[in-house]
Symmetry: C2
Subunit: 375 residues, 2 copies
Amino acid sequence: MFNFELKHKCPDTEARLGKITTPHGEIDTPVFMPVGTRGSVKGIMPKDLRETGAQIILGNTYHLLLKPGADVVEKLGGLQEFTSWKGPMLTDSGGFQVFSLGGLNRIGEDSVQFKSHIDGQLITLCPKSATKIQNQLGADIIMAFDECVKLPCPRERMKEAVERTIRWAGQSLDAHARKKEQWMFGIVQGGTDRELRHYCAEKLIEFDFPGYAIGGLSVGESHTEMIDTTRFTAKVLPENKPRYLMGVGTPKDMIAAISCGVDMFDCVIPTRNGRHGFAFTAKGPVRFRNEKHKLDSRPLDEDCDCYTCRNFSRGYLRHLFMVDKKSPEMLGPILVTLHNLAFYQWLMKQTRQAIKDDCFESWARQWTDDNEIVC
Amino acid sequence: MFNFELKHKCPDTEARLGKITTPHGEIDTPVFMPVGTRGSVKGIMPKDLRETGAQIILGNTYHLLLKPGADVVEKLGGLQEFTSWKGPMLTDSGGFQVFSLGGLNRIGEDSVQFKSHIDGQLITLCPKSATKIQNQLGADIIMAFDECVKLPCPRERMKEAVERTIRWAGQSLDAHARKKEQWMFGIVQGGTDRELRHYCAEKLIEFDFPGYAIGGLSVGESHTEMIDTTRFTAKVLPENKPRYLMGVGTPKDMIAAISCGVDMFDCVIPTRNGRHGFAFTAKGPVRFRNEKHKLDSRPLDEDCDCYTCRNFSRGYLRHLFMVDKKSPEMLGPILVTLHNLAFYQWLMKQTRQAIKDDCFESWARQWTDDNEIVC
């Protein structure tokens, strides 16, 4: 039911064109996965999400574990049936949120204890339980439980996290009870440390995961550090398996990472920024809180054919945000989120076409600084 | 460009089937108009609104006057172009909101001075300016400026408001500069006082408005008082012109008012209640904050074919509201609002069919108490 086909390689960079097959459908790579944190991509109906070109949606294990609970999602038919997203889905391992959102209580060798950010309840998560929860949620792609640390971080602390992540990866794989219906990816940690990343990747490769993620980035380091780390980590990973850069990023981040050989991305930027009236276009950002849009009858993006750009003026979108600064008309966040998601999908489509046409390197330059993208 | 055709009358009650023609399309009556207070029906895209069966949308002059201002709406092409609602629209006169929301400062013979509820700015509104603003907004149907008082109210105070409303109706009509493109309706005031309502209606009829509204109800009186007032007021109004009961109501209110001969309604109940997780069905309300829906895989309403009911379980909808009580997932309010609007349109469609089939009186009983609806 699962497959990754590497269809074409860029002659100038490490960029690649591929296709992932899952039980719920196919995914063209490079792919951007909108984030449906708590079981919905905020404000967007699945039918509209589909219309943006989205092929796979991400759900957050940490959030779904707290509410409504994995048992509830399982009893209501699993994440696809629950959310009515009739396509592939991916759940993260919960690790990132435990370490960033949860009130961290205790990291043990085999588990993490944390306080729910909702009600302070003490919860223990371990590779076994994180995997069981993801088995219950039922996404097509699930992630091994990992330890994600903030940057900068002392090397010894990072080494400890890497060792734990490797051990937990094996335990996650052992606990994985639905290998036929769900692909489990391993997550490479190691901060910006080349040696630790290399070590972590090699150890994970021994487990023969069907795909690998680069985790622990976009957590405080610079764009250059992130891309450097992505470049040397991706090089260690097997060519015939998908590579997923977690939590990244801006258009510039993604295009640069694609040139390093990354296939998959997820990020809250298009949705979160959209809710705050920040829109992406190929000509640069549009900020709807800016007075200059007040009487502008042009669409948000003249080159975009999303529902928002086909139907509404900049002046109207600005009105929706500015009618009450504390409580904008709901339609403003909805329409700009929808556009941003359509823009991200358009960008990935353009990227795939450029790789296919062997012109990715020159095409990519408009999105990145100087020669930063060349691997 | 405008017409009202009275197509059929119920043999048992005053209920009627009609059709209003406007420059932006036709409206089958009885009709329910969703409320797009500040230039959008909260959280609902026009394409989805259209799919519910909505034929005409209401905008609030008071709110649009404050933000973004009538000049902005006019410069961006008028309310239909601004909101991208490609159908008929109606704006109220601003009167109701000035008296309920605005910090009322001074009522003069010719104008009202009030403080904006947004920034406290002092604004004066009079029949001339309220009409000019509505001319600028450009809705198909606009309303004469009226004085709306809260109930209960001393008779002398009510009489004063009625006299002012009559005088202002004439001034509004005089100020109306776009009679070919916009129908202006007069608003009958008078509280629950039969004599004052009769007097106000007769005086307004002398102005020969193309339609009449019954205003000043649903402001504190009982259902029975409201329906009694509607019944005797509607009887005074000309048969060949549409009758609009402003700000009403629940399904029960509307069905009862239709039996009194009312053709048009607007109300925030389906949208506001939907945002709070309260859904309407023919079998009674569904409250999504109720624990009992947690594991319910059934749709909100098995008899409804709206997008919400076709795609989501009660358990999922409950999750969207309960994931964070203070800040639900946006999709919850959106999906339940959409259902409620579809339900209201379904109810009006059923009503029209029952009138057409000469079975309205018996059909209506399921929605009203006892024989309350018989006129």
